[in-house]
Symmetry: C2
Subunit: 157 residues, 2 copies
């Protein structure tokens, strides 16, 4: 488990229900994914030099608690699964003031080579593969969260 | 199937990969959910008068195609499932220029009563239930999309 980002709920993210708009939970999680990109060695200079990047293939967000204006949050990541081109992450939004989990986002990310005419999937750069393998090793003893890998259903409360 | 919103990709939604940022796909889908709210009778005046609204419980977005600056989109909705308090929707982002599906968002939404001290789940208002039942009836012959109800996995390509 690593911490990716920290912040607090901004006024422009509040909706007509008086709390953090669901679309902006996704933006907060996407910004955490950007931090993950840098964490594994795909900073801007490397992206420009190598034309390698990451695309998000899927995200599954569970909205567990309301977040009000100013609520402080911290996004943590657990690496669930890894292969030659893809990684499956489980992000958790912690409300640091109330010490609760406000939301989770499972994500499937793919390594992309943008050097050709069309972007296409590509194996991780060696430097990224090394960091990812270390993160996978660090998290291999952690149980997967109960919601991981689950689809959406009315049958489950 | 009903159309909820139409628009085009704005400059402020473009990321370092030169395309629509994944967090903003979610914002576009969330705005479509707002339109759905109004479609079932929960416009602002009704929300204020009744203190009833909808909260999003879960969303599962699949990013299928890149969307570049200015790409026109239309969000359509299929009603998959309905009970006394919840509805499961399948939203599709159509790129109207290329005639392709750029992304999908399965959503689980809950009817909420905000009149008490804490927001809590509540049966649909009668007027909403009527519209939802009509939409369910209109969509009951449609097959569910292949991705509906599926969880995220590295095993599935």
């Amino acid at each position: 488990m690593i911490t990716l980002t920290e912040g607090s709920v901004r006024a422009e993210w509040i909706d007509y229900n008086g709390h953090l708009y669901d679309g902006y939970y996704a933006v907060i999680f996407a910004e955490a994914t950007d931090a993950f990109l840098i964490r594994i060695g795909l900073d801007e200079a490397t992206r420009t030099a190598t034309r390698h990047t990451i695309y998000t293939l899927e995200t599954h967000v569970c909205f567990l608690r309301e977040m009000k204006l100013g609520a402080p949050f911290r996004i943590a990541a657990q690496l669930l699964d890894l292969d030659q081109k893809r990684v499956r992450l489980f992000l958790t939004m912690h409300d640091s003031a109330r010490d609760i989990v406000a939301a989770t986002s499972e994500q499937l990310l793919m390594s992309i080579d943008q050097s050709g005419e069309a972007a296409r999937s590509a194996p991780w750069l060696e430097r990224c593969a090394k960091v990812l393998q270390d993160l996978a090793k660090a998290d291999e003893g952690l149980p997967h969260p109960p919601g991981a890998g689950k689809g959406i259903s009315l049958r489950r409360s």
